[in-house]
Symmetry: C2
Subunit: 208 residues, 2 copies
C-alpha cells in the first residue's frame, strides 16, 4: 500500500536528540520521545534497550560523524600558524553548525555521574586537543611560536567557542539575534574565526 516507509528508529533518534537538547536527559521522558517521534513507547526499548541506550546511540553517531569530518591538516607545505588557523576554522564551523548538540554534550560532560558517557565525550574531545597540541608544540620547537602555556592556549580556543555557543546573549546582549537564524549564525562564525585567528597570530608570533 502507501508504503511511506518512515524509519521509526531514526525518528526516535532525531526526536530524542531534539528533546535532550531542549530539556536535558533527565528532563526528557520516554513518553515525550515517543510522542514527538510518532513511535510507540515500546519501540524505544525495542530498538535501543533503554532510554540511556538512545542517548548512547546519539553520541556514537555524532562522534563518528565528527571523526570522519576531521580533515588531514598535516600537510607539510603549510606553516604551524596556518594549520592552527585551519583547525580554528573547522572547529568553529563544526560546533556552530551543531549548537544544540554541543550544548547537550557539555551539559552531560559536567555531570560527575553517567561515567560511560563522560568517558566517551572525553575521548572524542581529547583527540582534537592532541591535534592542536602537536601543532602549537611544533611551532614552538621550530621557533616560529613563542613559548606559551600550550594547554592554556587550547583551553582559550575551545573555551571561546563554547562560550559563544552556550551563552550567545553574552556576545551580543543588546541585540535580539538568534543562532538559529542562518544570517546571524554566519556573522557570528565569521567574527569568531577572525577573532581567534587574530588572537592566536598576535599572541603566538609577536616577538617581545
Amino acid at each position: 500500500m502507501k508504503t511511506e516507509k518512515v524509519d521509526k528508529r531514526q525518528a526516535i533518534l532525531e526526536a530524542a536528540e531534539k528533546l535532550f537538547c531542549e530539556t536535558g536527559y533527565e528532563g526528557t521522558s520516554t513518553r515525550q520521545i515517543a510522542k514527538e517521534s510518532g513511535a510507540n513507547m515500546a519501540m524505544i526499548n525495542y530498538y535501543f534497550g533503554s532510554k540511556e541506550g538512545v542517548f548512547v546511540e546519539i553520541m556514537n553517531e555524532r562522534i563518528a560523524g565528527f571523526a570522519s569530518q576531521l580533515k588531514i591538516i598535516n600537510e607539510d607545505k603549510i606553516s604551524a600558524l596556518e594549520k592552527l588557523h585551519r583547525v580554528i576554522e573547522g572547529y568553529v564551523n563544526r560546533i556552530l553548525n551543531n549548537t544544540a548538540f554541543h550544548k547537550m554534550m557539555h551539559r552531560e560532560l559536567s555531570l560527575t555521574q553517567r561515567p560511560a558517557m563522560y568517558d566517551k565525550i572525553k575521548d572524542a574531545m581529547s583527540h582534537n586537543m592532541q591535534l592542536i597540541d602537536r601543532i602549537i608544540t611544533s611551532g614552538i620547537e621550530d621557533g616560529t611560536f613563542n613559548k606559551v602555556d600550550v594547554r592554556m592556549v587550547i583551553a582559550t580556543i575551545m573555551g571561546t567557542i563554547t562560550n559563544i555557543v552556550i551563552a550567545p546573549q553574552k556576545v551580543m546582549p543588546c541585540s535580539n539575534f538568534d543562532l538559529n537564524d542562518p544570517k546571524d549564525k554566519k556573522m557570528i562564525k565569521e567574527r569568531a574565526i577572525a577573532h581567534l585567528q587574530d588572537l592566536t597570530t598576535v599572541y603566538l608570533t609577536t616577538k617581545k
Copy 2:
C-alpha cells in the same frame, strides 16, 4: 540538652547544592536531599515551598555573595590594562573557588527551559560582562588598546576559565590531578591567571 543547634534549613541548602552539582537538578530527588541533609522531606516544602524553591534560594544566596565580593575596580589611578588584570585575577579565583557551583550554573544556563533561572543567571553574568566591556572600551578609546572585537575578547576570557573548570582533564589530560586538591587548584589558578594576563596584554597592547 546538647543544643547542637543544627540549622535544618541551612543543612537542606548545603545538601541540595552538593547534590544538584553532582547529579543535576532533575537528577536529584527531594528524598535524596532530605536524607543527605538529615531533615525530613516535608521540611523542604516547609522552608522553601518546593524543590525549585530550594534551587532558587541557592542561586539567590550565591549571586548575592558574588555581587558583594565585587570590588570597586574603577580607581582612576590605574590603567585599563591593570584593571583588566585585576578583574581576571578576581574572576579566576572566584570561579575556581566554587567550581561545583559554577558547573551547575552553566548546566542550567544551557537549558532552554526554566526561564526564571535562566534570566537570573544571565543577569548576574551580564553585570560582570559590562564591567569588562567598559574597561576594554575605555582602553580602546584612550588609545592604549588595539581596536578589537570586545565581545569576543570577553568570550575568550570567560570561556577560558569555564573551560578549565568544566573540563579540567582537557588542561592536563595525562596527569591525575584534581581540582579539589588545594595544591592542584592553586597551581591551576596561577597558570590561568598568568596565561590570561599575558594573553590580554600581548593581544590588546601590541602595536602592529
